[in-house]
């Protein structure tokens, strides 16, 4: 509430020192769209807020031989405006772009969405399905971590004291590969996902799926990677039978709870519906 300090360091080292010195009482401001809500609601009372937007390494989207490095302060709107990124990873971009309104899009970041560790985070399933990694910087230098290892439970992440995510990296991918993310919300915008499903897949020359990853959001304390659904896709032409198997596997893998947004039965069913629809979209994109 009060007594909060605000810092806007210009370098990674400065930021790491500020975070480490705060000993857990610091919060990072990237897009701020979760942070400010939590501040206003009195859910958090940090001693210091560290704005990382002045750190140049957190800026911009860098393409390198088909791979992408997305700075931690890059907003969803900036991602949507990047034609190459949107073409290569439409599912990742649509996940990021589904976070909130146009106004939120001007601020919210994927890195923030990841570290905030909501089970319903829209950008995370597609990142995990993509096999994305991130660069974590901290007092002991930097390390590359699979994004899947960042959230550890609702509101909990694996970052140590003084650490923050500097960027998120998407690998280069072969031809005939694409991804898709779908979520179920009661309205058409502005809601938290009741269920999210991301599918990333690779087809060979004649349309047979050679690699796949299916990840569900909002149906467990963390995202759920559904190996059986991926197995149902691999070797198939992503036809109706395969999609039905994806749906069945996704529903079987879901471990949701009843809460104000949805029921166990609903989430379980819709996890299957969305996984199979996302697979169909990803395959269609990969074919074209």
């Amino acid at each position: 509430m009060s007594g909060m300090r605000y810092e806007a360091p210009n370098s990674v080292d400065e930021a790491v020192k500020l975070l480490a010195d705060a000993n857990g009482a610091a919060r990072i401001l990237a897009g701020g769209t979760d942070l400010l809500v939590q501040l206003r609601a009195g859910m958090i009372d940090p001693g210091v807020v560290v704005n990382i937007k002045n750190i140049s390494e957190t800026h911009g989207i860098a393409a390198d031989g088909g791979a992408f490095c997305i700075g931690a302060t890059v907003s969803g709107a900036e991602m949507g405006e990047d034609a190459a990124l949107s073409a290569a990873w439409p599912g990742v971009v649509e996940g990021a772009e589904l976070i909130g309104s146009t106004q939120i899009q001007g601020r919210a970041t994927m890195a923030g969405n990841l570290c905030n560790a909501s089970p319903a985070a829209d950008s995370v399933p597609a990142l995990i399905a993509a096999g994305a990694t991130c660069t974590v910087v901290g007092p002991d230098g930097q390390r590359e971590v699979s994004v899947a290892d960042i959230p550890t439970g609702p509101g909990q992440n694996s970052l140590g004291n003084g650490e923050f995510v500097l960027n998120i990296k998407l690998p280069a991918r072969p031809a005939n590969a694409s991804d898709a993310y779908l979520r179920m919300i009661p309205r058409t915008e502005m809601d938290i996902a009741i269920v999210g499903a991301a599918v990333n897949l690779v087809l060979d020359g004649d349309g047979t799926c050679t690699e796949a990853c299916v990840v569900l959001g909002a149906v467990g304390p963390k995202t759920i990677t559904v190996a059986d659904a991926a197995a149902a896709l691999v070797g198939s032409k992503v036809d109706e039978a395969a999609l039905a198997a994806v749906a069945a596997a996704a529903s079987a893998a879901a471990t949701p709870i009843d809460d104000k947004r949805g029921t166990v039965a609903y989430r379980t069913k819709v996890a299957g519906v969305l996984a199979s629809r996302a697979a169909a979209i990803a395959a269609e994109r990969a074919r074209s």
């Binding site: 009060s2 806007a8 400010l36 809500v37 206003r40 909130g100 106004q103 939120i104 502005m190």
Partner: protein
């Protein structure tokens, strides 16, 4: 706690204010700068009444700290008209009765202008999704959407 001294540009003019670290840009605009045209509806980014432009991006000013405006440009509803001359969107909203209570109107106008600045030929669906973060409880959105589309058509014709 010491207040931060912030220098920024608001509606084209240099502005300075003192603010506490936890104050939002919305608080600062309304309470420190005296620009009360930007409205608070929820303070959680869910209603869009506090929409402003920050360095050319549409944002909810309730989700921006006042200190973050240092060295940036802020555009609010008070800067939308050119002196006595209303922006075409403002004029169209009056002509087509695209407001009832008027409370969401500043935010809607700022958001609509942000759209037309980058796309002067949006479809109805594009306008509806662009404005999905601006809640209006009075109009059912019909006249708002029409006014934005009609302004775009005028701007293309002009």
């Amino acid at each position: 706690m010491a207040k931060h001294h912030i220098t920024t540009t608001i509606n084209g003019e240099e502005a300075e204010y003192l603010c506490e670290p936890q104050e939002t840009l919305l608080d600062v605009l309304r309470d420190e700068v005296g620009l009360t045209g930007t409205k608070e509806g929820c303070s959680s980014g869910d209603c869009g009444a506090c929409s402003v432009m920050l360095d050319g991006r549409l944002v909810c000013s309730c989700l921006v700290l006042g200190v973050e405006a240092q060295g940036k440009t802020v555009e609010t509803i008070e800067g939308m008209a050119d002196g006595e001359v209303l922006h075409p969107l403002q004029q169209k909203f009056l002509e087509e009765a695209a407001l009832q209570c008027g409370y969401c109107t500043p935010g809607v106008l700022i958001a609509a202008k942000a759209l037309l600045d980058i796309n002067n030929d949006p479809t109805e669906t594009e306008v509806r999704y662009w404005l999905a973060g601006n809640l209006c409880r009075c109009t059912g959105y019909d006249k708002i959407i029409r006014a934005v589309m009609d302004t775009a058509a005028d701007m293309r014709g002009a």
